[in-house]
Amino acid sequence: MSRIQQTFTRLAGEGRKALIPFITAGDPNPEMTLPLMQALVAGGADIIELGVPFSDPMADGPTIQRASERALAAGMSMRRVLDIVRSFRATGDQTPVVLMGYANPIEAMGVEPFVKATAEAGADGVLVVDYPPEECRGFAESCRAGGLDPIFLLAPTSTEKRFEDVAAVGGGYIYYVSLKGVTGSATLDLDEVARRIPAIREKVGMPVGVGFGIRDGATAAKIAALADAVVIGSRIIEEIESSAPGEAPSRVTAFLRGVREAMDAAGGAR
C-alpha cells in the first residue's frame, strides 16, 4: 500500500478527512520551502502538494503564476525541487508529498530519469496538469512501476466516460477541480460537488479530493462533509506573499490550523 493510500485508510479509521495544502517549491525562495513544508505539517496537513514551477502555467490563475515566477527568478529547477523533497524526508517526516506541475520540465529531464529521481527523493505521487489520461499511459505506467501514484484531475465538465479513462490509469486519489476556470478563481458550486462526488468515488474506486476556490475553514468543512480530501492552494500562497520575511511559516501554520479545526469539527459531527 502506498503512503498516500495508508494516509487515507488511517484517516477513514479516525473519521477524518484529508487536508492537502499546495505551495510552489521555491516560492519565495528555495531556502523557504522546507520550513514552509514543516509549517504545513504543523498546521495539520495530511498530504503536501508541492508545485514544480513552470514558465507557462496555463491552468493557473494569477496567484500561482506569481508564485511560479518568483520561484523561477530565485533559481528553482526540477533538480532543486527534488533536493527539497529529499531534505524533507531526511527530517524523518512521513507526510506524503505529491509533485504537481506541467509536462515539459518532466520531458526535458526524461520520463524514466524523472520517475527514478522523484521516487528516490521520497515523493509519493505526481500530478501533471497537462497530461490527460489519453496522452500519458506510458508515463502513468512508469510512475506506478517506480512506486509513484499518478494522480489525475476530473472537472465539473468531465463525462462519465472520463471517470473510466482516469480510473484506468490513475492512482492515489482523484483531484476534483470544483469549478470551471483556473486555480484561485472565485466561487465554487457546492451543489455540483455534492452531486458529482458520489458518482466519481463509485466509478474510480479511489478517494476524491476537491480543490480550486477553497479559501476558508467554513468552505473546507462543507467540502469535507462531501469528499475525502480538501485541497487549498492560492489562499496559502497569498498568506506567504503577504508575510514579512521569516513570518510566512508561522502564518501558514496558523491559517491551516483554523481550516483543520473547522474540518474536524464538522467531521466529528457526522
Partner: protein, 403 residues
C-alpha cells in the same frame, strides 16, 4: 523515417503527427475540445459549410488572391524567378482572416456568442475583431503588453472594430503569454466562448483545423501556377511563426514530391547569439500550449524568451505538423536574421512597389538568397503572407526616424 509511398494522411484520429501534436491540456478543457472536434467534423460533412466558407472568402476577403511575378527584383537578383502569392491583398492585410472566418462560422454553428483570440503582431487580433464585428459577436483579444507597445496601430484598429484588447503582463509579455491568458479565459467561460487560435498550434483539433482553413492558399496556387508558368514551382517558401501561412501553402503541395518546401524561421540577431525564435532549427521537442512540438527551452524545460524584429514570428514553439514535416524530411527549415529580413523589406518596397509585412520579409529574404544560386528558369513561389503597414513604426525606428 521516410513515408515512402503511403499517401500523406495526418493527423491521426487523436491529433498526432507522428510523435507531435495531441491534446496536452488540463482536464477542464477536454470537454470543450471534444465539443469543438465534433462540431468541426459535422461542419466538414455539411456541404453548406464549405459553400458559405467559399462565399465569404470570395466576397468578404477578396479571394482568390493573385500570384505576381516579381520580375524586376528577380532580374536584379540574377537567378531564379520569384513569384509572390499575394495574401497581403486580403481584407485586413494578411492570411490570418481565412482562418478567422472558418472558426467564426463554427462558433456561430455552436451557438457561442463570444470569441476570444491571442495575437502577437496584431494581425490575427485584427482579423478576429473584423470577423466578430461582421457577425455581431463579442470579441476579446489578449496581447502581450510588449506587443501592445510594438503594434500600437493594430491595437487601435481592434478597438475601432469593437474588440476589447487585454494587455498581458505575465511572463515575457509576448505572444506565448497572450496564448496562456486566452486559454485561461476559455476555461473560465467555456459555456459561451469560442477560442479562435490564430495559428496551427494549440491542442487538437486546432492544428488540423487551422491548416484546413488556410489550405485555400496552396489550393489556389496549384491552379494558378500552371496558368502562369505552365507548371508547379520548384520551391515554395513561407515564413514560420506558429506556421499557419506556411502550412496553408505547403499542405496541398505535400504530395507534389518535386516541389521543395522551405519554412523560414526568425533567426533574430543570429542563431548563434541565442537571440532568436527559430524553434525548429535550434529547439528540442517538448510540450507547450496543448501539443508536443519543437520548443525553445532551457535544460530544465522552462520556455525561454524569443527575439525577432517581427512580433508575429516571436513564438518559442511551432505548429506540430511542421515538426513532423521536418522529421520526415518533407520540408526544410532555415533561419533569416532581423537584418536580412529588413533588407528584403526595403528591396521589395523599392523594386516592386510592395510593402511587405516583416514576417513575410523573412520568406522574401530567403528567396533573395536562394534565387542567385539557381538558373533563370527555376521558379520560387513565396507566400507574401501580409502587408507591412503595421510595421511602419518598427522599420522607421530601425532607421532612426521618429513619427
Amino acid at each position: 523515417m521516410h513515408m515512402a509511398d503511403a499517401p500523406y494522411d495526418f493527423p491521426d484520429a487523436r491529433g498526432h503527427f507522428g510523435p507531435y501534436g495531441g491534446v496536452f491540456v488540463a482536464e477542464t478543457l477536454i470537454p470543450a475540445l471534444t465539443e469543438l472536434r465534433q462540431a468541426y467534423e459535422a461542419a466538414l460533412a455539411d456541404p453548406a459549410f464549405a459553400a458559405e466558407f467559399n462565399y465569404e472568402l470570395k466576397h468578404y476577403v477578396g479571394r482568390p488572391s493573385p500570384i505576381y511575378h516579381a520580375k524586376r527584383w528577380s532580374e536584379l537578383l540574377g537567378g531564379a524567378q520569384i513569384y509572390l502569392k499575394r495574401e497581403d491583398l486580403n481584407h485586413t492585410g494578411a492570411h490570418k482572416v481565412n482562418n478567422c472566418i472558418g472558426q467564426a462560422m463554427l462558433a456561430r454553428r455552436m451557438g457561442k456568442p463570444r470569441v476570444i483570440a491571442e495575437t502577437g503582431a496584431g494581425q490575427h487580433g485584427v482579423a478576429t475583431a473584423t470577423v466578430a464585428a461582421r457577425y455581431g459577436m463579442e470579441c476579446v483579444v489578449y496581447m502581450g503588453s510588449e506587443d501592445v507597445r510594438r503594434q500600437a496601430a493594430n491595437v487601435y484598429r481592434m478597438k475601432l472594430l469593437g474588440a476589447t484588447v487585454v494587455p498581458v503582463e505575465s511572463g515575457s509579455r509576448t505572444l506565448k503569454d497572450a496564448l496562456n491568458e486566452a486559454m485561461r479565459d476559455w476555461v473560465t467561460h467555456i459555456g459561451n466562448t469560442f477560442y479562435i487560435i490564430g495559428t496551427v498550434a494549440g491542442p487538437h483539433p486546432y492544428p488540423m483545423m487551422v491548416r484546413d482553413f488556410q489550405a485555400i492558399i496552396g489550393q489556389e496556387c496549384i491552379e494558378q501556377m500552371p496558368e502562369m508558368v505552365g507548371r508547379q514551382p520548384d520551391y515554395v517558401i513561407a515564413c514560420v511563426g506558429g506556421g499557419s501561412n506556411a502550412m496553408g501553402i505547403f499542405h496541398p503541395y505535400i504530395e507534389h514530391k518535386d516541389v521543395r518546401l522551405i519554412g523560414v524561421e526568425a533567426a533574430g540577431s543570429g542563431i548563434e547569439t541565442g537571440m532568436h525564435a527559430a524553434s525548429l532549427s535550434a529547439g528540442r521537442p517538448g510540450v507547450l500550449h496543448g501539443n508536443r512540438t519543437y520548443l525553445l527551452q532551457n535544460e530544465d524545460g522552462q520556455i525561454i524568451e524569443t527575439h525577432s524584429i517581427s512580433a508575429g514570428l516571436d513564438y518559442p514553439g511551432v505548429g506540430p505538423e511542421h515538426a513532423w514535416l521536418k522529421d520526415i524530411q518533407r520540408a526544410e527549415y532555415v533561419g533569416i536574421t532581423d537584418a536580412e529580413a529588413l533588407q528584403a523589406f526595403h528591396n521589395l518596397c523599392r523594386f516592386e512597389g510592395i510593402i511587405p509585412a516583416l514576417e513575410s520579409s523573412h520568406a522574401l529574404a530567403y528567396a533573395a538568397k536562394l534565387a542567385p544560386t539557381l538558373p533563370k528558369d527555376k521558379v520560387l513561389l513565396v507566400n507574401l503572407s501580409g502587408r507591412g503597414d503595421k510595421d511602419m513604426h518598427t522599420v522607421a525606428e530601425k532607421s532612426g526616424i521618429q513619427f
